[in-house]
C-alpha cells in the first residue's frame, strides 16, 4: 500500500489517510486542545503527506506513522507559536455552553455529553495529557503515540527508528514515567487534583 502511495496512487493514498486520520487527529487534539486549530493542523499534515510521500523511505506501517507524526510535530510547533497564550488556555466552563456546543467544539464519546461532570473531567484530562505529551522529546512522543494510539509493536517501532528494541523499551519507560510524573499518577491514584498540579 505504501509502495503504491509513493507512486501517488490516489486510492492507496486515501487508504493510508483513512488509517492514519484517527491517530493523527487524536494526537493533535491532545497537543493543541483547540478544535478549530486541530482541524487546520490535521489538514496540513495530510496535504504534506500527499506532497511528500515520494520521499518516504520505508514500506512499513510503523515507519509511516513515525514519519507522519514527525510532520505533525512540526505543524503543531508552528501552530503553537502562532496561538496566543490566552487562546490556548481558553477552556469553557460547563454550564455556560450547551451540550451541543461541546459536540461542535470537540469530538468526544457521545455518552460524555449527557454527563457534564464527566465531560469537565475529560476536558481537564485532555488538557493535562496534552501538556504532559508536550514535555516529552519528539522521539518519545513518536514511541508512545505509535505504541498506544497506532497500536505498533516495540520491534516495528525500533526498526522504524533505526534502534534496538531494548533501546525503544527504555525510551518508552522513560516517556511513561515522565508522563506519570506530569500527570501526578501513582499507585492507586488515577491522577491528582487540579489544585495539586505541578
Amino acid at each position: 500500500m505504501i509502495r503504491q502511495a509513493r507512486r501517488h496512487d490516489e486510492e492507496a493514498l486515501v487508504v493510508l489517510y483513512q488509517r492514519a486520520l484517527p491517530v493523527i487527529y487524536r494526537y493533535v487534539l491532545a497537543r493543541l486542545g483547540h478544535s478549530d486549530l486541530v482541524e487546520d493542523v490535521v489538514s496540513e499534515v495530510f496535504l504534506v503527506m500527499v506532497e511528500s510521500i515520494g520521499e518516504l523511505r520505508t514500506e512499513q506501517e510503523a515507519g509511516f506513522y513515525a514519519w507522519l507524526l514527525q510532520i505533525a510535530q512540526g505543524k503543531i510547533s508552528r501552530a503553537l507559536r502562532h496561538v496566543t497564550h490566552s487562546e490556548r488556555k481558553y477552556i469553557p466552563m460547563p454550564g455556560i455552553l450547551a451540550a451541543e456546543d461541546y459536540l461542535t467544539m470537540e469530538p468526544i464519546a457521545t455518552d460524555l455529553v449527557s454527563n457534564p461532570v464527566a465531560l469537565h473531567e475529560w476536558r481537564e484530562t485532555l488538557e493535562e495529557l496534552g501538556l504532559a505529551l508536550g514535555s516529552l522529546s519528539a522521539e518519545q512522543q513518536v514511541i508512545v503515540i505509535g505504541r498506544f494510539l497506532a497500536g505498533q509493536k516495540i520491534e516495528d517501532l525500533a526498526q522504524a527508528l533505526g534502534k534496538q528494541p531494548g533501546a525503544v523499551r527504555v525510551l518508552q519507560f522513560r516517556a511513561l514515567r515522565s508522563l506519570a510524573k506530569h500527570l501526578g499518577l501513582g499507585r492507586g491514584s488515577r491522577h491528582k487534583g487540579k489544585g495539586e498540579r505541578a
Partner: protein, 344 residues
C-alpha cells in the same frame, strides 16, 4: 528482567487481556496508569464531516499533483532479437505483437487518463461510462450502494477541482449535475438495502459523504458566478439545507418617482442583498425571513425581462424572472439558467 522489559510485558499482557503479573513498585504502577490514560485518547472520534471533507481535499490534492507532474506510462521498447532478419516470418509476428502491445498500452493509457478526466474534458464521457459499467456488474445490493457512494465522493472531488481550476461554467454545471445525480442514486441504493447492520453501515458512510458535500458546496459558493451559485443553492436545498427561495415579486411606483420592489419567499437572511440581473441593486429598506423590500431607481427599467433575486450573507441565492411590459409587471419562476447576461 529489567524494569523497562517488565513494564513492556505488563503493557502487552493488558493489551491482550491476559492474566496480570504483580506490579512490583510505584514507578511501574504510575507508568502503567500513564499508558492507560494514553489509550483513553482512542475514545476521541474524528468528526465525520471533517473526515469526509479532508478526504475530498486529499484526493483533489493528489490529482493536482499527478496532473502537474504529468505522469507518463512507461512503455518498454525491447530490442529486436539478433538475426531476426534471417527469419522474416518470425519478424512479422514480432511486428504484429508489438502493434498489439502498443494498441493495448494505448487503450490502457486512455482508460487511465479517462479516470483522471474532469467534467468538460473529452474523456469524461468514458469515465462516466466506466462508472456505469462497474455499477452494472456490481453483484450484491450493498456493493452497489458502496460503489454509488464512492462515485459520489469522486464526483465531489471533480466538482471541487473544476471550480478551483477556474474551469468554465459549463464544466462546473456538468460536475454539479453529476454530484446531484450521484446523490440521488446513492440515497436510493442505500434505501434499497434491507434493514440491518449493512444498511446502517452504508447509511453512516453516506451521511459522512453528504456532510462533506454540504460543506464543499458552501465552501465553493463564493468561487462561482451567479447562475452557478443559484444551481449550487438548489443542490444545498436538495440536501435539506434551509436555502432562500423567491416565490413572488411586486413592483410599485412611489410618488417621488422611485420604485418599491417587494420580494416574497422563504429563508431570507437579515443582511440579504437585492440582486438584479446578477448584480447588487437598490437599497434594501426592510427584510424579514419571508420578505425583502427595496427601493430602486425608476429610470433603470424599460420593457423587457429582468432576473430579480436575493443573495444571503452565507452566499446562497434565489431569483425569479420579472417581465416588465409598459408599466405592467409579471413575475414567473426563474430557472437557474437565465438566457441573457445575468452573470456577476
Amino acid at each position: 528482567m529489567n524494569p523497562e522489559e517488565y513494564l513492556d510485558r505488563l503493557i502487552e499482557r493488558r493489551e491482550h487481556e491476559q492474566e496480570q503479573l504483580p506490579v512490583t513498585n510505584d514507578e511501574i504502577a504510575a507508568s502503567l496508569a500513564a499508558a492507560e490514560m494514553l489509550t483513553q485518547l482512542q475514545e476521541v472520534e474524528v468528526p465525520p464531516g471533517f473526515a469526509s471533507r479532508l478526504e475530498v481535499a486529499v484526493r483533489a490534492h493528489s490529482r493536482d499533483l499527478v496532473r502537474q507532474n504529468g505522469r507518463i506510462i512507461p512503455m518498454a521498447s525491447p530490442q529486436s532479437p539478433a538475426g531476426s532478419q534471417r527469419f522474416p516470418r518470425r519478424r512479422a509476428w514480432v511486428v504484429m505483437l508489438r502493434i498489439a502491445a502498443v494498441l493495448m498500452l494505448a487503450c490502457v493509457g486512455i482508460l487511465t487518463a479517462s479516470t483522471r478526466s474532469l467534467p468538460g474534458d473529452a474523456l469524461y464521457v468514458m469515465k462516466q461510462a466506466e462508472h456505469q459499467f462497474t455499477l452494472t456488474f456490481a453483484g450484491a445490493p450493498q456493493d452497489r450502494a458502496s460503489l454509488q457512494i464512492d462515485q459520489l465522493r469522486s464526483a465531489l472531488v471533480d466538482l471541487s477541482t473544476v471550480v478551483n481550476d477556474g474551469r468554465d461554467d459549463d464544466a462546473i454545471r456538468l460536475a454539479l449535475d453529476t454530484v446531484a445525480a450521484k446523490t440521488n442514486d446513492s440515497r436510493e441504493a442505500v434505501a434499497a438495502l434491507s434493514a440491518g447492520p449493512e444498511r446502517a453501515t452504508a447509511q453512516r458512510s453516506l451521511d459522512g459523504v453528504l456532510a462533506g458535500e454540504e460543506q464543499t458546496l458552501r465552501h465553493l459558493l463564493d468561487h462561482v458566478d451567479w447562475p452557478v451559485r443559484l444551481a449550487f443553492t438548489q443542490q444545498l436545498g436538495a440536501l435539506g439545507d434551509p436555502v432562500p427561495t423567491v416565490t413572488h415579486v411586486m413592483l410599485r411606483t412611489q410618488s417621488n418617482g422611485t420604485l418599491l420592489i417587494t420580494l416574497t419567499g422563504t429563508h431570507f437572511a437579515a443582511q440579504a442583498e437585492l440582486i438584479i440581473d446578477g448584480r447588487p441593486a437598490g437599497m434594501v429598506s426592510q427584510t424579514t425571513s419571508q420578505q425583502l423590500v427595496a427601493v430602486i431607481s425608476n429610470s433603470a427599467w424599460s420593457p423587457g425581462s429582468y432576473a430579480v433575486g436575493i443573495r444571503n450573507p452565507d452566499g446562497t441565492a434565489a431569483q425569479m424572472v420579472l417581465n416588465v411590459d409598459d408599466n405592467h409587471y409579471h413575475s414567473r419562476q426563474a430557472t437557474p439558467q437565465p438566457t441573457r447576461g445575468f452573470d456577476e
